[in-house]
């Protein structure tokens, strides 16, 4: 009874460590940015009362944006994956109708004002080729039994039309040689002739044209059937008007858009971007090629970085001065979205590629000049290898004088108001200096659109962008088919005489070889940053030591298993310890380990295969969980209730390998292997039967969490493992994996039920590892949960507590509303969570990316190392002064009195 009561007390005390946010703290340390994704379809509503844009995106989002600002007015998120992919949008007076899905076509009508769902109907379809809307009817073009058939449905009710038009399928030569525009299908036949036929009515009339082309594309959103035919980089425009085919050659490589201006007149708008920061538009009358002067413009903006712009939708009108002007929604190849006023300017610009972040790094800012001078003066040899700090008394004195003079000058300037104090200006270059607690950093985000962003972590402002156009393409992640961008921070901002350096591994656009792109993560500048390598890199591993230029060299492992060093010519500062590299092939289940002995010169070395593990077919490696390289484990053990120590098994070389194999009896079998990456020894393996996706793995300190969907019990479970050495410390000073201990570690295991579905999971990390660990979990409901690891501890006791502070075992994990650190800011479609330590031991910085970007900071053990925000400095100053003054006054009074008494 008493123990239970103690447990309750302990439990409730733990509840309070989950610190919620006060109302006034909302938005103080965090920001959230909403995005919609790369625009697929759009429509402009120029009604003066609404003035809106409607977009459907590749992220399966239907949204409405304000024309003037580009802000999201409402946003609806459809199903994930192909089931929710929007195939068509059709604006009506009061509704936006979307058609989505692949095998089951779902038609939904959204209210234009607030995005409420008005109606929904669905129909099952097969072999759908095209979908289009004509006359309020949804036309579904599909192939069946050598026929091209068209079914019609009433768009709002889903009532199937009587007629099914059929066309002979022989002239449909495959979807890559055909295009559909405005209800007309254009196909190249075998002879290379272009046939265009209407699918709206059941006639076999076909227009044909003799033209040679490699590629045919429909002009999106065109009111009349119009196609672009490409033949050896020469583009021609083919359009149908009044049942005749017209051909018009296009002069420049640009993207076209046709707008119905008057009943029989169409405007051809062309847009191109000859340079990354320039947009050129041209307008002409489609029918007679008359150039409209007012629509020809050239727009340049230095902060702009775009490629291949394309008009998604446009609206043109006649101004008071009797000239034609247009508003065009332009989406670019790098997935940015902007509203262009022609003639005029870019009204707003959204970087929608931030919904496709594939790699993130938070980079420390460099110290300010004044601090740099101080650092130089007191610079310790360890972190400032690059300085030849002279230790002579006189030179130190001179340097001290100089730095203090500089400090004095900046002080005067600040006082006189020549320069503003750094706290007032944000985002400017001069302000990008490290703060006292290391909370201000730069988020370097690589997106799958080939654009790198530098984002200020305090306010979410984009500081710089770099377009990887023409540099290279991304590697592909074989496990999920997404692009992957291995990025290594080779030199951080701590080295004063060198600028920080970040390297991205890319594939060459014209060969299989690798391209290295090196840039400065603080300003995005890249001087001679592109290095073409004569081989293909299959793995890049940073060395544990720096070279003499303070660069963390990379061992590049090429496809013929020979290692190279990058940068190649610079010798290392000391002889590195042997490095073991493991390479996992997800498809054939092969794991190999190599040893590389890098000489101090960094030249001419080779790799030797030392271990090989082969998973049996059809087992696939689906995830590798390695500890964060920055992670420190402060405590080497755990104190038990009898005050003895259970030592942690901390093997820095241990990685967790997750394999998934289909099984006849258990559907699928998920196996977790703990592998020593140096010796290739399997430390432990455990089988989870009937476990399927979504699978997430977390590996930190001496524990692992593996979340999966249990197909048998139909719920998300989290298996928790913890490794211990036992009551004796095995070796205290050195840790070697080669020829190591035969005794396997003690593995504690337990499973928990999570009432929800996970999108991402990540542990917090702090600088010294003293602060307790919390797990951040993004659920499909849009919450970001901060769960203390103590809740997931496999040693949570069912009976008597094994150690102090252990919470009794409860199978279901609590999802407390106080522990949702994103409070009411739901985060949808989370792709990943990034955590990084700040200079404050208590604080961990968190960046969540996906459809929305969210940044916050968490303090798992509360902010024990800073004063509270509402700490009353004034009161403490007043109290101390009063005490000091009164002490002096009373002292004098006392001495006077003593004197008087002595004379009595």
């Amino acid at each position: 009874m008493v123990s239970k009561l103690i447990c309750i007390v302990l439990f409730s005390s733990f509840l309070f460590t989950v610190n919620g946010l006060y109302e006034d703290q909302a938005g103080k340390f965090d920001w959230k940015q909403n995005y919609v994704g790369e625009v697929k379809f759009s429509s402009i509503d120029v009604d003066v009362t609404t003035k809106r844009l409607y977009v459907a995106t590749k992220k399966n989002v239907v949204a409405s944006l304000a024309i003037d600002t580009g802000d999201i007015i409402w946003r609806q998120i459809l199903e994930k994956g192909p089931e929710g992919s929007v195939e068509l949008i059709h604006p009506t007076k009061s509704k936006i109708i979307t058609v989505s899905g692949v095998d089951v076509v779902k038609v939904r009508g959204w209210d234009v004002k607030d995005g409420y769902l008005h109606f929904e109907w669905s129909t099952e379809t097969n072999n759908v080729l095209y979908l289009f809307v004509f006359n309020g009817l949804l036309h579904n073009v599909y192939s069946s039994n050598n026929l091209i058939a068209v079914d019609t449905y009433h768009l709002e009710t889903g009532v199937k039309g009587k007629a099914t038009y059929t066309f002979p399928a022989h002239w449909f030569s495959g979807s890559d040689r055909c295009a559909l525009s405005s209800g007309s299908l254009a196909c190249f036949d075998v002879a290379g002739k272009l046939n265009i036929g209407s699918l709206i009515k059941s006639n076999n009339d076909r227009l044909s044209l003799d033209i040679i082309g490699d590629k045919i594309e429909a002009i999106p959103g065109s009111p009349i059937p119009a196609f672009i035919i490409t033949n050896k980089n020469v583009e021609k425009l083919v359009y149908v008007k009044e049942n005749t085919i017209h051909l018009r050659s296009l002069t420049k490589r640009s993207s076209s858009f046709i707008y119905t201006y008057m009943a029989d007149r169409h405007i051809l708008l062309q847009i191109s971007s000859p340079m990354q920061d320039t947009i050129v538009t041209e307008g002409s009358i489609l029918e007679d090629s008359t150039v409209i002067e007012s629509l020809s413009s050239k727009e340049s903006k230095s902060t702009l970085k775009i490629s291949n712009p394309r008009i998604s939708s446009a609206f043109c009108g006649r101004s008071k001065a009797n000239t034609v002007n247009c508003v065009a929604l332009v989406s670019t190849h790098d997935q940015s979205l902007m509203l262009l006023k022609i003639p005029g300017s870019i009204k707003w610009h959204r970087e929608e590629s931030l919904t496709n972040i594939i790699n993130v790094e938070l980079v420390d800012l460099p110290v300010s000049d004044i601090e740099a001078a101080i650092e130089k003066e007191f610079g310790n040899k360890e972190s400032f290898l690059d300085h030849s700090v002279s230790t002579g008394a006189f030179s130190m004195f001179v340097r001290r004088l100089f730095s203090q003079l500089q400090q004095l000058r900046t002080l005067f300037e600040t006082v006189l108001g020549i320069i503003e104090t750094p706290s007032k200006t944000t985002g400017t270059k001069s302000n990008l200096v490290r703060d006292q607690f290391g909370l201000h950093k730069i988020i370097v985000a690589v997106t799958s659109a080939g654009k790198i962003f530098g984002i200020d972590n305090l306010n979410g402002e984009i500081l710089w962008t770099v377009l990887l156009c023409g540099v290279g393409t991304f590697y592909e992640n074989k496990v999920n088919g997404l692009p992957s961008a291995p990025m290594h921070l080779q030199r951080n901002s701590k080295h004063l005489s060198y600028s920080p350096m970040c390297t991205l591994l890319l594939k060459s656009e014209d060969s299989e070889n690798t391209v290295l792109f090196t840039f400065n993560p603080i300003n995005g500048e890249s001087k001679n940053g592109v290095t073409q390598l004569p081989y293909r890199v299959v793995q890049a591993v940073p060395l544990p030591i720096l070279n003499i230029e303070s660069v963390r060299s990379l061992i590049l492992f090429d496809s013929s298993n020979s290692p190279h060093l990058y940068p190649a010519d610079v010798p290392l500062s000391s002889k590195p310890p042997p490095v073991y590299i493991y390479i996992a092939n997800p498809i054939n289940g092969l794991l190999q380990g190599f040893t590389v002995d890098v000489p101090i010169s960094g030249k001419e070395f080779s790799a030797k295969e030392v271990w090989k593990t082969q998973f049996n077919k059809p087992t696939q490696i689906i995830a590798i969980g390695s500890r964060d390289a920055m992670e420190h484990v402060h405590s080497q053990g755990r104190v038990l209730s009898d005050r003895s120590v259970l030592y942690k098994y901390i093997n820095p070389n241990m990685v967790a390998i997750l394999t998934l194999a289909p099984d006849t009896t258990h559907k699928s079998v998920l196996t977790l292997h703990l592998l020593d990456a140096v010796s290739g020894i399997i430390i432990y393996s455990v089988v989870h039967k009937r476990a399927t996706y979504p699978i997430h793995l977390v590996h930190s300190e001496n524990w692992l969490l593996c979340s999966y969907y249990n197909d048998k019990t139909r719920r998300t479970e989290i298996a928790s493992y913890e490794l211990y050495d036992g009551n004796q410390l095995s070796n205290s000073t050195d840790f070697s994996s080669v020829g190591g201990s035969l005794i396997p570690p003690i593995v504690e295991k337990q499973a928990y039920i999570l009432p929800g579905f996970l999108q991402a999971m990540k542990p917090t990390i702090t600088e010294k590892g003293i602060t307790s660990k919390h797990i951040l979990m993004a659920t499909t409901t849009g919450h970001l949960l901060e769960v203390p690891w103590a809740f997931l501890d496999p040693r949570r006791p069912l009976g008597e507590p094994k150690e102090e502070g252990a919470i009794p075992y409860i199978p279901e994990l609590p999802m407390l509303s106080e522990s949702m650190i994103n409070y009411n800011k739901s985060l949808m479609r989370v792709d990943g969570i990034y955590t990084t330590p700040s200079s404050l031991e208590s604080t961990c910085l968190v960046f969540v990316y996906g459809l929305d970007l969210f940044y916050t900071r968490v303090a798992p053990s509360k902010t024990f190392d800073v004063l509270k925000e509402d700490f009353d400095y004034l009161v403490i100053i007043i109290v101390t002064t009063i005490l000091l003054v009164s002490a002096y006054v009373t002292k004098n009074l006392a001495s006077q009195k003593a004197l008087k008494q002595a004379w009595k």
Binding site: L505, Y582, I624, I650, N653
Partner: protein, 174 residues
């Protein structure tokens, strides 16, 4: 000698003595005994005072031990204080330790006035007594869990072992 006669009754004054038995001297005041005075001074000077000093100094030397054993106050307080760590038990234990340690440090000044054949023994006993007190306090500390005798108390001082090999890698880039 009258004094010899009235030896048994020291404080009795015999008024029933015969008048004719006149004494040659004046009668001593009641309670006055000449011999006692004469002999007493010598005794006090030689043996009585030193015996007292020795007794007093033994009292002093045995003080710490008496504190522990004769009057079980400390033991009782310690028992009642319990093993939970809060401000009052800590203060008590602190006092228990500090007092004998202080006494040990001021050993010389305490025994400055005392000289004699038994001084060494007394000092030794005093020392032992204080040691017993300290041991008792340490035992209390031990039972309260304040002594760093367990491996867990030294856990924070264990450093992370240095790595002999480094490893890295991951999925093959393709």
């Amino acid at each position: 000698m009258t004094t010899v006669k009235s030896k048994t009754l020291k404080w009795t004054l015999d008024f029933t003595r015969n008048k004719h038995e006149k004494s040659t001297d004046n009668v001593s005041p009641p309670g006055y005994s000449q011999s006692a005075g004469q002999n007493g001074t010598e005794l006090t000077k030689d043996s009585e005072s030193s015996r007292l000093i020795i007794k007093k100094s033994w009292d002093l030397a045995l003080g710490p031990l008496k504190q522990v054993l004769k009057v079980p106050m400390n033991l009782f307080i310690m028992y009642m204080a319990g093993n939970s760590i809060s401000i009052f038990p800590i203060m008590m234990v602190g006092m228990l330790i500090v007092r004998p340690v202080k006494a040990l440090f001021t050993l010389q000044t305490t025994f400055k006035t005392i000289e004699g054949t038994q001084a060494w023994g007394q000092k030794f006993i005093f020392f032992i007594g204080n040691c017993v007190n300290i041991v008792l306090a340490l035992y209390k500390c031990q039972s309260m869990g304040l002594l760093p005798t367990h491996a867990s108390d030294w856990l924070a001082f264990i450093n992370q072992p240095t790595r002999m090999e480094y490893s890295g890698g991951g999925f093959v880039l393709s």
